[in-house]
Structure formats: C-alpha cells, structure tokens
Amino acid sequence: MKLITANFLTCAVKGCKASPASFPLHFRDAELELQELDFQPDFIRNIVPRIDWHALQIMANELGFPKILDKKPEGDELKDEQILKELHRLLLETHINEGKLTCGNCGHEYLIKEGIANFLLPSHLV
C-alpha cells in the first residue's frame, strides 16, 4: 500500500465516517519498502491539490519520515522539480508492506499483508 492511497482512506464502518477522529487512519507496526518508479510529475501536480496535507503530515510522522513541508505546495512550487521528486518518493514510491491501519474513533484494526490492506468488515461492524 502506498502513502497516497492511505490519504484517501478512512474507517469503513459507516458510523465512523462522520467522526473527525476516523481520519486519517493511524499506522501501527508498519514495515516500509522503497520501490523506485518512473518519475511522474504530471500526476503529482494533478493530485497534490486533492491531498489532505494535515493527514499526510500525521502519517509521514507516524512512519518516521523527516518533517515534510509545513504547507501544501501550490502554484509555482508545483513547478519545482525538487519538490515534485520528494513528493513522488513519499506518495508513490513508499510502500507499506506489513502492518496495521487503525481507526481513531472505533479502534478497529485493518491489516496490511504483502502490501494489500484488508477493509472487509466482520458482520458485527456492518
């Protein structure tokens, strides 16, 4: 699972969606891997405006990354190749191979195994 995907995910339990505590989900026991990919600046430029920057900061912090930019890059900053490359690495090349994502509202844990997160809920949570 990539960090960019995690930025669009919240708790699958319907009742949690309305609670601010359910987003972002929190990484626990995460094993990371760096997988190099072709640099895709167009995609980064297109997707950054849709990223929740505060959530990204929290997640990057939980995963032990050095502090990322305080403010979401905008305008000319999105033409800066260095900024785009760093975001490409963080959002697309960082994989969470094993670990858990937990909901800050209900505490449910979603397991990540071999890079695949499982959001299927047991029947008592549907």
């Binding site: 990539k2 072709d38 895709q40 697309l92 071999e114 695949i116 499982n118 959001f119 299927l120 029947s123």
Partner: protein, 456 residues
C-alpha cells in the same frame, strides 16, 4: 476541414461515442456530418489536420483517418467534387511520390476495374513517382457497398438477393492522414495475458472503456470490482494511475499464489511495462467502502458482478445474525488468520445505485464513470438506465449476445449546482430481498430463459 474516418465494422454502437469522447478529451470541436451503423466510413469536420491526428491517435474502433478530397454516389459526382474541393491544391502534390489504393467495403472489383478507377483520377496531374512502399502521399478510393447484414436487418427475410452486382452507394477519395491505436488490441489480447479469469473483460472493449472514461496521463482511476484488472491495465496504457479493490481478494491476488510471489494483477502491469501506473489494490466492499467522501477520482471504470456467473454479495449476514463480536481464545475472531467475513446476497439495482452514489461523491467535476450492465434483450431499454442527479448520461452503447446484451453507460460528474433530469430513472428499492432471484430481475430472466430452452 472535412475528414473520413474508416471504422472497423464491429461494436457499432460504441464507435461514435468513442470518437466523441476523444474529441471532448482533447477539446476538439467535432461535427459528425455522416454516420451510419452499417458503414465503416464516417464523415466529420474538425478545424485542423492536427486535430484530425489527435482525434484518431487513441481510437480503438477506428482504423485510420483521411482528408476528404471528394465524395459522391457515383464516380461522376466524385470527380466533380474532387475538382471543386482540391483543384487549387493539385500543384502542391505535383512532384511528390504517391500511391492509390482501392478499399471496397462488402464489394469486389477485378484488377482491370480497379486500374480503370485509379486512371479516372489522372486529371489531378501528379507527375511524381508511384511508390507502393512508403509514398509521400497515400490516396485511397473508399467504396461503400450495401452489406448482406444491412439488407437482412432492414428488410427481414430478404437475405442477400439484392446486394450483389450493385454499385457502391457511396464513394470517397481520401488522402491518408494517420492510423489509430487499433493495433494495440492484439498487444493486450487476453490469450497472451499472464493473469486472467473467466470474467476478464476483453482487451478491445477494456481499451474502448478507458477511452470513454478519459483515462490520460496525470489522472487517477479506480475500479471497485477490479478482479484481474482488465480496466486498470487499459486505463494505465493511456497513462492514468490506477487503483482497484474487490470484495474477493483472491481475484486480484491469484488463487494459488505462493508467499513472496507478486500478486496476479500486478504481473499484468509487469508484462506490459506499466508498473509505474499501478497505484494499489485492496480488499473492500463498495457498499462499506473505506474511501473518503471527497472528490479525488478522475475516473471510475467497472463491470459489476451481474449475479449470474458471479454471485452478487456484500458484507453482512443473510438473516441479520452475527451482531455480536466473536472471541476465540481471547482474540477477536476477525483478527485471526484466515478469517473470512460473512456475506449476504445483494440486489442488482441496489448495487448500481450504490455505484452511482459513490461516483457522485468521489469524482471530480467532469470526471467520468463508465459502468457495464447486462440487460435481457426484450426489456424496455429507457427504463433500465440507472440515473443520479449529479451525473449526466453521456452515452449508452450495447453489445448484443444471443439471449442477453450488455451495455456500457458513460456518465459525467456535473459541476456543483447543476443537476441532470432523472425523471426517466427507475424508482425501485430492492435492498430488502433475500434470495438472489428475488433481488435480481436480470438473473431471474436469464435463468428462466435457459431453463426453457434446455428443457427436454
């Protein structure tokens, strides 16, 4: 300028929507001057030759595009039209190498007749060398004969008695401009793909779907019923980053996958060298999706389970039991390895409504949803198109089979403040049913028909 598109004579109801989608994607002002489902030739107007090239470059159902030099219902008319349209340009072509080719759709010409037709254009006065390989300019005489299929469709019972020995109904002279992407269909052929299943969508229609949905570089696409990833691969081919999920993770992982082997779906991305266009795959159920209610997707492409070959299921239990958490040896059962969450049958219409509601919440403005759905041949077509106030129906295309057909419906997310007319939409809730047949009118119909036709 006017151009002739030469289509493949397949998937007729997808051809026009595909070209219109590509025009919309590239922002080209397209006017379709002539289109007939029974003819491979379509006459269009676009502002420039560069637009014509852009328009055709990604098309799967078109073969190529020609600058229109003349058209008519007989050669006299064609020659007159060629003179009128192009006489002032003949000098430009005086010394270039060139070639003439005749393409007769559903017609045959003897070699002498072909030669005579080509000679009849000699008044253009080209003095350059004739080159059969890589000429500078490539001229095509396109002859459109009435096909047997058309005769049989338009006048049932009359098979081919009348189509033989007839002259073409329409003739075009075109200057070849550019080829389409039709040649990539064989590259993505399922027979040559590493990881597929019985319900994988074929390469041609997956690629057409990606065109209709405006997959393009820099965009984010999602398939909520990803399976073996046919749509993701097609959207990735056109440059989009793709993400998929499925209620059955075995479908994208691979049923017999060993640990450490890459997941099945990803091996397809590896095969085509588009690994960097793969974003993620995860296990989830669209009805209980973990994706945020935020407009972040450029496109959603899906072929939801019909409930015929694949059972239609969402999370939950059939009788409403299982409300209590189960603890085994002090560990909640759902955290133990090998736990499989219970699933219950779900309604076909309820599923479609969930997809539309999800799309309206997550698509960016002008983002597109392409959804396949099956219909029984004799059902009333208009009533069956699921609708949503925030989604405009862009096109509906039909692929007919023997007892049923499937449709590709393309929607566009409207800007906030605009709503589409949904008065024709079906007004029926069905999430309360229990058995698969109760919930699924399509399944009921198909299974019933087959029972009748196979009864001893």
């Amino acid at each position: 300028m006017e151009y002739v598109i030469r289509f493949a004579q397949v998937h007729e109801t997808f051809r026009r929507p595909e070209i219109e989608s590509l025009a919309a994607l590239a922002g080209i002002d397209l006017e379709i001057l002539y289109y007939d489902q029974f003819s491979p030739y379509c006459v269009i107007r676009v502002p420039t030759e560069a637009d014509a090239r852009t328009l055709i470059a990604r098309s799967i159902l078109a073969k190529d595009i020609f600058e229109l030099w003349g058209q008519g219902t007989n050669y006299e008319e064609v020659h007159a039209d060629v003179r009128r349209r192009t006489q002032h340009r003949w000098d430009e072509f005086k010394n270039v190498s060139f070639r003439f080719t005749i393409d007769s759709f559903c017609g045959k010409r003897k070699i002498e007749a072909k030669r005579a037709i080509i000679q009849s254009f000699s008044y253009v006065g080209f003095d350059g060398p004739i080159r059969m390989k890589n000429p500078d300019e490539d001229f095509w005489v396109l002859e459109d004969f009435v096909s047997d299929v058309e005769v049989a469709t338009r006048t049932p019972g009359n098979t081919h008695a009348y189509s033989e020995a007839l002259e073409p109904r329409k003739i075009y002279l075109g200057r070849w401009i550019a080829n389409s992407s039709r040649n990539i269909v064989s590259k993505y052929d399922l027979k040559k793909r590493r990881y597929i299943s019985t319900t994988s969508m074929d390469a041609e229609l997956s690629l057409v779907t990606a065109n209709m949905a405006h997959a393009a570089p820099g965009r984010l696409f999602y398939d909520p019923f990803v399976g073996t990833g046919s749509f993701c691969v097609a959207a990735a081919h056109f440059g989009a980053l793709t993400c998929g999920s499925d209620i059955d993770p075995r479908s994208f992982k691979g049923r017999e996958k060993n640990d450490k082997e890459p997941m099945g779906l990803f091996t397809n991305f590896q095969q085509y060298g588009i690994e960097s266009k793969f974003m993620d795959a995860f296990s989830s159920d669209l009805t209980n999706t973990p994706l945020l209610n935020r407009q972040f997707l450029d496109g959603i492409v899906c072929d939801p389970p019909y409930g015929v070959r694949e059972g239609l299921r969402v999370l939950g239990t059939r009788d409403g039991s299982g409300r209590e958490e189960v603890i085994i040896d002090g560990v909640p059962a759902h955290y133990r390895p090998g736990y499989i969450p219970p699933k219950k049958p779900y309604g076909f219409e309820a599923m479609q409504n969930d997809i539309l509601a999800f799309a309206s919440r997550t698509l960016v403005t002008d983002g597109r949803l392409c959804m396949w759905m099956p219909t029984s041949i004799d059902e009333d077509v208009e009533l069956l198109i699921p609708m949503h106030p925030h989604l405009e129906v862009v096109s509906v295309s039909v692929q007919p089979f023997n007892q049923w057909s499937r449709r590709l419906i393309t929607y566009r997310r409207l800007p906030e403040g605009q709503v589409s007319d949904i008065s024709k939409a079906r007004q029926k809730g069905d999430s309360e049913g229990i058995s698969a047949d109760d919930l699924n009118a399509f399944r009921r119909k198909v299974c019933h028909q087959y029972t009748l036709s196979y009864a001893p």
